[in-house]
């Protein structure tokens, strides 16, 4: 096997990692503000089908992306209302969101099963950059949604660590009572982060139906939303580390897919298990490291904030 094979796998790792990266960036933002949203899988599915339906009807993939983000943002709003305003249990609400999203996407998507998308995002090699040996092939011969993450992830990192709103988000996630005391509107920050996070998850879902595999299948996210949640832990809530993590997970998925094509003597079912087992293994290793280095989740993650309880 020559190096072109490896370049192809690495380039595939980037495309396979992109939907996970979008979802992970969204979840990261919500968790930084202290709200755990386990509904990523459901929001991705709804984003995937809404984006697909709009693209089929308007023949414009960008409208599809916009619609997907609105739909998944609306779902995230339900989660935000239940957990922030009504202070419901974040775990159960997120699970409800995943189940509802899976059911709803399958419900509205039934007439669209097996239809090929009339339009999808095409690869546009970036002039000059795509000529860089190796790196050009891996990173700069993709579709616009991949390029968007190159900007979005560093932007989110900058926002979180170097701007006032970003530091406010961190404060709300670490110590909402203190944030409240210095005049930050805790509930508003959390609402904005959860809804924006949901929109990112929908964008990740739309990437699947509009670029990655331009068609709709029931439950086609196949656990990517959950892998994205694991990725947030892997990235220690840092957007830049999420990029590397997403390509690592994408690489494992791309590898398992390539190996099925190469007809190596391992059952395809075992190869399909690989991304899930890999995620579990990574999660265990990362948790051990985090406990040694004493780094971890935002301190108020998963807890509702109630002024009266101060």
């Amino acid at each position: 096997m020559d190096y072109t094979f490896y370049l192809a796998v690495l380039a595939a790792a980037v495309t396979a990692g992109t939907p996970i990266l979008y979802a992970a960036l969204g979840e990261l933002l919500a968790e930084r503000s202290g709200v755990l949203n386990l509904g990523v899988e459901g929001m991705m599915l709804v984003g995937a089908i809404v984006g697909f339906i709009i693209a089929v009807n308007t023949a414009n993939p960008w409208l599809g992306v916009g619609g997907a983000m609105l739909a998944s943002g609306a779902l995230a709003l339900i989660h935000a209302f239940l957990t922030i305003t009504l202070q419901a249990n974040q775990v159960v609400s997120g699970l409800a969101l995943t189940m509802f999203g899976a059911g709803f996407s399958s419900f509205i998507g039934r007439p669209f099963v097996g239809i090929a998308a009339p339009v999808s995002f095409q690869n546009i090699p970036i002039p000059i950059l795509s000529q860089i040996p190796y790196l050009g092939d891996i990173f700069f011969r993709h579709d616009p949604l991949v390029y968007l993450t190159y900007i979005l992830a560093p932007l989110m990192w900058f926002l979180l660590y170097w701007t006032r709103p970003g530091l406010n988000i961190q404060a709300v996630g670490e110590d909402p009572a203190a944030a409240d005391a210095v005049g930050i509107n805790v509930k508003l920050v959390r609402y904005l982060c959860v809804i924006t996070g949901g929109m990112f998850a929908g964008l990740g879902g739309a990437y699947l139906t509009l670029a990655f595999a331009p068609l709709w299948l029931d439950g086609m996210t196949a656990g990517r939303g959950w892998i994205a949640i694991a990725l947030v832990i892997f990235a220690v809530w840092n957007p830049l580390k999420a990029i590397a993590g997403a390509y690592l997970f994408g690489g494992v998925a791309a590898m398992s897919f390539r190996m099925q094509i190469l007809e190596i003597p391992v059952s395809p079912f075992f190869l399909q298990m690989m991304p899930y087992l890999f995620t579990i293994m990574v999660l265990i290793i990362v948790t051990i490291q985090a406990s040694v280095k004493r780094i971890g989740a935002p301190k108020a993650l998963g807890l509702a904030y109630d002024r009266e309880d101060r």
Partner: protein, 365 residues
Amino acid sequence: MLVAQKKFNPGYRIRWEKRLVSTPLINFSIPVISIIMTLLAGGAVIAAMGFDPIFIFQGMFTSAFLSFTGLMETTVKAIPLILAGLGVALAFKMLLWNIGAEGQLHMGAFAASGVALALPDAPAYIVLPTMILAGMVAGALWASLPAIPKAYLGVNEIITSLLLNYVAIFWIDYLVFGPWRDPAALGFPITKAFGQAARLPMFGDTRVHTGLLIAIAAAIALYIILYHSKWGCEIRVIGESQGAARYAGMNIRRNIILVMMLSGALAGLAGMVEISAIHARLQAGFSPGFGYTAIIIASLARMHPGWVILVSFLMSGLLVGGFSMQIHGLPVATVQMLQGAILFFLLGGNILTRYRLTIRRKKVA
């Protein structure tokens, strides 16, 4: 003390007041109200898709509860739901988020099938108990995979238990498409049929099987464990406050592993009864998401074993009714959508256990 205050009418004011204790009436009416709200909201979505919601809901209810065959089918599907629901309820009681019931159920079915296929000629009094044991052990071991890292390292059990569902389902697919496939099945992904001895007996001519007795016995046993044993008391205390439990000298680590394994064993038992009585062979896609529905059941039943039985019947009716409406073009996914919606309304309604709306005549100042 007030969360929101609205001037509604000059003479009165309405406000949220914190409750100190929740009343039984509230605890009972919230799940009921959330089901009604789901029917209203679900009906709106169904109507938006061009169906007549009244016709659909009436049809679902009639076919699930008002005909003999329908009622029997509802009972049949309630059996694995009760068992898996009990498992999830036990784990949730300790705030241990086992959402891997679907995978544990698949592994239970796998192990029970292995026993049934390995002992084709053994008598029922040997095969059936061995299958039950194998199913429970397999479910417990599968649940120990997320439990042990959780107990010793604090690895998030939600993600690991959920991801293992995918692995378990691929494992079953591997078996029924590969080494366990019945060569005579013309390419269908199924194993050979089990012998008659490996099938749980049915009541009369119905498909209702003795798994129902197992499920009810399991509910009673779990009730006694949770509310009338020292261990159950520990589980409830840990669920209420880990700090208090640690202070009282309870072994949280050991309880995480034990509770998760018992939870997995119940889900594994659900897989065993379903595969033994209904399918009598291992096949791909034998579970319509029993393990996920179990999460809704445990939440609606507020983790109480008795209520798990009742709620399982309701959820089973929803499943059976949903299937029967397929002939009218209703997507099967409607059921899953409604299940998610019930949980939303339940969570929203829970605020009434902590607050109450009061209307008072305003004092003239």
